[in-house]
Amino acid sequence: MIGQLSKAAGRFPRLVVGGRDLTLEVAFTALILLLVAVAATTSDTFLTQTNITNVLKQMVTTGLLAFGMLVVILTGGIDLSVGSVVALSGILTAGLVSGLPIPVAMGVGIIAGLAAGLVNGTLVARFALAPFVVTLASLTTVRGLAFVYSEVPIAPEDPAFFTLGSALLGPIPVSTLIMLVVFVAGGVFLSRTPAGRSIIAIGGNAETVRLAGINVRRHVILAYAISGACAGLAGVILASRVGIAQPSVGVAFELDAIAACVIGGASLAGGRGSVRATFGGVLVLVLINNLLNLYGVQSFWQQVLKGLIIIAVILVQRTPRST
């Protein structure tokens, strides 16, 4: 978002159109088109309506988690708890629909995620604990809470519960549209609001931001709260799509979210990262997953390949040392 484009200057030829460096956008589009082309030519099923809808639905979880993760990463933090939050919010919602109206139950799921984020953020900001440690602890705590609430999967009967995750608006799943709205709103938030600008600046140099009269703690808490709420929403949508909520769902989801940010050029040190490129990272990951599935690659090999592909993408777009 700031500087990462020109920072990579010297390694690759830059593509500048009308004063704007579009190299990253073009590179992502090319990579995604390449993946789509490969998939379309080598697999009969890829371009079918079912598969496309499927891919669009699968994006939602990774996408929502990746956006929340990006906001936290921008502050120089990390949120390892998102996978567990997905499980907790899903199982809470599924459990509550028997007694509450569906939208209320879903709201509770999202609020549970928000609450987890607030706790994470408060521990990080107010008590100056390391984000890695705090969210590692809540990864296990929240997962535990999900099991405490219900050891067994919960499958609500009411068909209205499935709407959020499976309804289509024309050819596009509603859940995908929700994710897109989050990305667009998120992009505006980070580039155009004082809070968004402050969050990015904090990752660059918190002391400078503090002396500029900006409340650093409050913004760090806000970042984790956003991540928690996104994870809560992802959990609700996932449970609704699958039709059954499992306390064990979402293990290692945080890794895909982090990978999407990093593929999009975010710096884990904070202060640098882009919403659009993160979205590109999500697309790349989901397409790779889908391709490997269509090829029927065994799931362990899928993991190996995905890891290698992530390294390759990062190597290509890595920033050189600069002074």
Binding site: I2, G3, S6, K7, A9, G10, V188, R192, T193, P194, A195, R197, S198, I200, A201, G204, N205, E207, T208, V209, R210, L211, A212, G213, I214, N215, G271, R272, T323
Partner: protein, 484 residues
């Protein structure tokens, strides 16, 4: 001739900033490099240090062509560099920073007492014995950190010592120690390449002077054949009429009243009043507590007792205060962000930021402070030259339209022509009713640009003097705690 540069060119991503520089340095010579902000001095130095590759040109040492691929190569050739920006690792002790891994060992383990002893010995041998090698570097004042940087370059004897604005943050006896050190090194046959905007010290210290303008050497001269005015004229391309504006101003109401302010271990019982329309200088040597006091008034650090300090920077800003801190890298800028984002940081207003207005405001500031290059707004601030980075910090606070300006070394690393602009601007702000506290270790500045001067020594205010009736010696005497 131990060092020679021939037709050195350098471009950053297609923009050439050095256009064929030739430079020659002999053994036992102090070679001064002067030039306006952004002229290319630091770039030249990074090339000498192997930290940046040249785009074309040659470097020769002792009659042999050398190619530096990394700072390590330069180090091997005996070239030691002290960069303009501080590079110490704040979390490590002075000893660790100095010895950088090359520790004395006992039975395979680091012998810490020997390591500290060696660091102490080194610091003492170059006249900086006041620094405790066990302290974490980040806890030292900027001036002390600068001295440690210099010591670090001297852990082993250099052949060429390159110093990029080492004196910008030093004053009084520290400056004396630095000059004495440079003279000793010269006697030992070291080539010292010295960059500074303080022309008086250059005339005193240098054997030869190279003037750089817009990436070219435009003059090579000697102290005997030139003068301050002359150099300024060459650097700026025009003559400077008057450095400090005439100050004869009625002062208005009290804007900031500080009484008995104390922060344990840093300063004690500080009282002063800053009125509308006045510029008050604050002078003090390293360790006098002047920066700490300003930070405390601004609410960046809590006070132990006393009144007048704000509880948080946000509160201070709401009351109309602004604080330009002395360490731009650590607390003045977000280096990875653009110039615009940095300057706009004090004026973020929502719910949605008015981008058009932000752009105009920032462009106005870039213009008013002549931040170079003029189209820098969307560049990462780290790519500006040191002096221009300093101007960006100033711009950020001016945009907040403060009523009380606390300036801690605001002209650090800023060239003479721009300083004159800044003095004129401060004067204008004061005339419009703003109160300014100008902390500086530059004696002429602290006397010239102000109405009165407060002097601090060892955490206390030891004197208050009228700028037009005092002398440098008098200020210095107070700053050493001697009540003249």
């Amino acid at each position: 001739m131990i060092l020679e540069l021939r037709d050195v060119r350098k471009d950053y991503g297609g923009v050439e900033v050095l256009h064929g520089v030739d430079l020659q340095g002999r053994q036992g010579e102090v070679l001064a490099v002067v030039g306006a902000n952004g002229a290319g001095k630091s770039t030249l130095i990074k090339i000498l240090a192997g930290a940046q590759p040249m785009s074309s040109g040659e470097m020769w040492m002792d009659g042999e062509r050398v190619e530096l691929r990394s700072p390590h190569d330069a180090h091997d050739k005996g070239v030691r560099t002290v960069y303009q920006e501080l590079t110490l690792v704040p979390e490590l002790s002075v000893t660790e920073n100095l010895l950088m891994g090359d520790f004395p060992r006992k039975r395979g383990l680091i012998d810490w007492s020997a390591a500290h002893a060696r660091a102490r010995e080194l610091l003492e041998s170059i006249g900086f014995g006041a620094i405790d090698p066990r302290t974490k570097a980040g806890r030292l004042t900027v001036a002390r950190q600068q001295m440690v940087e210099i010591a670090k370059a001297l852990v082993t004897e250099p052949r060429v010592l390159v110093l990029d604005e080492p004196s910008a943050v030093l004053a009084g006896s520290d400056l004396e120690s630095l000059f004495a050190l440079i003279r000793r090194l010269r006697e030992r046959g070291v080539l010292v390449i010295y960059v500074s905007h303080r022309l008086a010290e250059i005339l005193e210290l240098a054997d030869s002077i190279v003037v750089i303008k817009d990436g070219k050497v435009i003059e090579t001269t000697e102290p005997a054949r030139t003068s301050e005015d002359d150099l300024i004229r060459r650097m700026a391309g025009r003559k400077l009429e008057q450095i400090y504006p005439d100050r004869r101003q009625e002062r208005g109401d009290a804007l900031l009243t500080v009484t008995g302010l104390t922060r344990r271990g840093e300063f004690e019982d500080v009282s002063f009043t800053l009125h509308a329309g006045e510029i008050v200088g604050l002078f003090g040597l390293v360790g006098s507590g002047r920066s700490e006091m300003a930070r405390c008034v601004f609410g960046a650090e809590p006070a132990t007792s006393g009144t007048g300090a704000y509880r948080s920077p946000a509160e201070a800003i709401a009351a109309g205060l602004a604080l330009v801190t002395e360490d731009r890298k650590r607390s003045g800028l977000v280096l990875g962000m653009s110039v615009r984002d940095n300057i706009a940081l004090t004026t973020l207003r929502g719910p949605l930021i008015d981008m058009g207005r932000q752009r105009r405001d920032v462009a106005g500031m870039v213009d008013r402070l002549s931040i170079q290059p003029p189209q820098c707004a969307s560049m990462p601030v780290v790519r500006l030259s040191g002096g221009n980075q300093q101007k960006a910090v100033l711009a950020k606070w001016l945009l907040a339209e403060p009523r009380v300006l606390l300036l801690d070394e605001p002209t650090r690393g800023v060239d003479m022509a721009t300083r004159v602009e800044i003095y004129r601007m401060i004067d204008g702000l004061a005339r419009s009713g703003i109160g300014v506290l100008l902390i500086s270790s530059d004696l002429t500045e602290v006397m010239g640009a102000t109405d009165r001067v407060l002097v601090m020594a060892e955490g206390r205010i030891t004197g208050e003097l009228r700028s037009d009736r005092t002398t440098e010696d008098e200020i210095l005497a107070y700053s050493m705690g001697q009540h003249a």
